[in-house]
């Protein structure tokens, strides 16, 4: 999978590139809109990640041109503006998704993965992590064969963490995904729910599944932090 990053902030570009390379993607970086356009015209990319504020051809224009040339390529916009207006503009110009700076790298990973797998994602109805089992249809949870009763929110939180075990989710990602826009900024609610979830899920068992990476977020896995 080959990804092009068009971003004039070199440090941001390097950071994203390094992270994506670690996930075994082939990554190219262009620092101006013109350089980016030249590379898009030359190579076939599977995903385009770009900043909106670019020297030369600006981000929105680049999205439009890319769309005219290749309707299928997924485009992820990184933006420092998050006004609703520019959100609408992004989608109208043909972007598939957007991320507002500052973003958690984990969130970028999730979005990239989702965009590269576009189309119907094979959704297993059962998710397994170690001896934990989630039935996504009936929303039933079992651990070690024992049934664990969860509230709807606790279940939603657990499912979000369990879909990609080992991946760290920031608290704001969890708030946005499990709760909604109105709870923006209320990240302490995540801590409370995680604590409740741990009491039900981990407390009775010797092996702990929910882990904390301080300052980053939470992840679900059998082993200790990566």
């Amino acid at each position: 999978m080959r990804i092009l990053i068009v971003e004039d902030e070199r440090k941001v570009a390097e950071l994203v590139a390094r992270g994506l390379r670690a996930e075994r993607y082939a990554v190219d970086v262009a620092e101006t809109g013109d350089a980016g356009w030249a590379m898009i015209s030359t190579y076939d990319y599977d995903l385009l990640i770009l900043d909106l504020m670019l020297p030369g051809i600006d981000g929105l224009e680049l999205v439009r041109r890319t769309r005219r040339r290749n309707a299928g390529i997924p485009i992820l916009v990184l933006t420092a503006r998050d006004a609703t207006q520019s959100k609408v503009e992004n989608f109208e110009a043909g972007a598939d998704d957007y991320l507002t700076k500052p973003f958690a790298f984990a969130e970028l990973q999730v979005r990239v993965k989702a965009l590269l797998r576009r189309g119907p994602v094979a959704r297993n109805s059962t998710v397994r992590v170690a001896d934990l089992e989630l039935d996504r249809l009936t929303q039933q949870v079992r651990r070690g064969g024992r049934r664990i009763a969860l509230t709807a929110k606790e279940y939603a939180l657990l499912e979000y963490l369990a879909i990609q075990p080992g991946r760290v989710y920031s608290r704001s990602m969890i708030v946005e995904h499990v709760w909604d826009q109105g709870f923006e900024g209320l990240t302490n609610i995540v801590d409370v729910y995680v604590r409740h979830l741990r009491e039900k899920l981990d407390a009775p068992f010797p092996v702990k599944l929910i882990h904390t990476v301080r300052g980053v977020g939470y992840f679900l896995a059998e082993e200790a932090p990566p």
Partner: protein, 472 residues
């Protein structure tokens, strides 16, 4: 009519000055009139005395004193014309004295003798029994035979006094009426002159930070008022610029901070996930990341505020049941309260329809409840109530928390204001939550107030316009 109003005071001043001027004029007039009348009376008497001296007294040697008396009676008839005439020889012998006048205003016999000084001519005012005094002119005349006579001609001052009293009475009656008319006229005129000031003041009161683009009406009068309104408008313009600048600054600053924050966060996250890291550096990285998260939150909120300032509060406008939304939100926050052993309850007797941005209004409920829970000690309670009162939707959040001091209450909605300085280290608070609540409420043409008793608890009340009745 307020005693303190400029209009009232100007009218009062005007009336006072007017009264003083008119009273002064009247006094001058009256005194002059009196002087003039008296002078002319004197003149007449003096002339008459001279006449008697020249025509009759000069010949007294030839005609005799008895003839003189007859002639005076015949020519001047002093009794009929209420005049006093007396002719006295230099040795004190009274050659002639007129009888009592027809109106009996004085008794001629009672008039004391004139001083027999050698002055040729003098006059005096002589009080006699009766009401009026006599104005007496005296002239000394010599005869060819060497005799000398004093001729006194007097007239009662009563008519002058009567006229004087009449004029005074007339003035006393007219002055209040004239002053009253002038004051009324002045009041109307001042009112008309101040009318543009009223209009300017009324408009100026409506202008706040949200409508600085509006201007005051220009009084097109070409005078000080026009200059005043122009000057005020220029000032509003400068305020507007300053406000725009500060808003733009916040927007720009929060925007510019995003990229460095992204880098900080990304680099730190990458480090934090390094497997070879010992527990101590991992702790430090975690602490750094928490600070980055706090900074991020501040930037997000500042940006949100600048968007609200720019009037982007109602990205979407939908009609929804505030009661349903608020109670559902409270239910979602129940665990947060339970965690702190706070009893969170909610009550909404009926649907309350409002129109606006649902996500933003939800943020209002979340921020208010979160705040209430945060500042309420364990085992306290937080209560949410939504209802409609008159034409407003009313949402109240009560808590049994630490309360807010009276002097802090007006500032709780200010940006970065903290009622309790000791709490400023709270990781969550950027001191912007309530500022956002206020901005969202004003953007929805609503308002939010805070009431509190220290140690007992606080109440935050949001009022929003009700939407029209459910069309379904």
């Amino acid at each position: 009519m307020r005693a303190a109003s400029l209009r009232f005071r100007l009218t009062l001043w005007y009336a006072a000055v007017f009264t003083a001027v008119v009273a002064g004029l009247a006094a001058l007039l009256v005194l002059n009139l009196r002087q003039y009348l008296e002078n002319s009376l004197w003149d007449t008497q003096v002339r008459r005395a001279h006449q008697i001296a020249e025509t009759l007294v000069a010949n007294v040697g030839a005609t005799g004193e008895a003839y003189l008396g007859k002639q005076v009676d015949a020519l001047y008839a002093p009794e009929k014309s209420d005049r006093f005439i007396r002719i006295t020889r230099q040795d004190g012998h009274v050659a002639y004295c007129s009888g009592a006048p027809a109106d009996q205003s004085f008794a001629p016999a009672a008039v004391p003798a004139a001083p027999l000084t050698p002055r040729l001519e003098f006059s005096r005012e002589q009080a006699v029994t009766g009401q009026a005094s006599l104005l007496i002119a005296a002239v000394r005349a010599g005869t060819p035979t060497g005799e000398s006579y004093l001729i006194e001609v007097g007239i009662s001052a009563a008519p002058v006094d009567a006229l004087f009293r009449h004029v005074l009475w007339l003035l006393g009656l007219c002055l209040p009426v004239v002053v009253a008319f002038a004051a009324a006229g002045g009041y109307v005129l001042v009112g008309r002159a101040l009318d543009p000031v009223d209009r300017i003041a009324a408009k100026a009161e409506q202008i706040s930070q949200h409508n600085l683009d509006e201007r005051l009406p220009i009084a097109q009068t070409g005078d000080e008022l026009e200059r005043l309104s122009l000057a005020l408008n220029h000032m509003i313009g400068r305020l507007d610029d300053a406000f725009q600048n500060s808003k733009r600054f916040v927007a720009d600053a929060s925007h510019e901070l995003r990229t460095p924050l992204t880098i900080l966060r990304g680099e730190l996250e990458e480090l934090a996930q390094d497997r070879h890291l010992g527990p101590a550096p991992r702790e430090r990285l975690g602490s750094l990341l928490e600070e980055v998260e706090r900074l991020t939150k501040i930037v997000e909120r500042l940006f949100a505020l600048s968007r609200l300032d720019a009037g982007e509060a109602q990205a979407e406008r939908v009609r929804f049941d505030l009661a349903e939304m608020a109670t559902a939100t409270a239910a979602q926050l129940a665990l947060l309260a339970e965690d702190r052993r706070i009893a969170l309850s909610w009550e909404a007797p009926a649907p309350v329809w409002v129109e606006g941005d649902r996500a933003r209004l939800k943020q209002v409920v979340v921020n208010l409840l979160d705040n209430a829970i945060k500042y309420t000690p364990e085992l306290g309670s937080v209560r949410l109530r939504v209802d409609a009162a008159e034409d407003r939707a009313v949402l109240e959040v009560d808590d049994t928390g630490i309360g807010i001091a009276a002097e802090a209450l007006p500032h709780v909605f200010d940006r970065f204001y903290r009622a309790d300085k000791a709490r400023s280290r709270s990781p969550d608070g950027a001191g912007l939550g309530l500022a956002i609540v206020k901005s969202i409420c004003s953007a929805h043409h609503g308002e939010v107030d805070a009431f509190s008793v220290v140690g007992k608890g606080s109440r935050f009340r949001v009022r929003l316009p009700l939407a029209a009745a459910d069309p379904r």
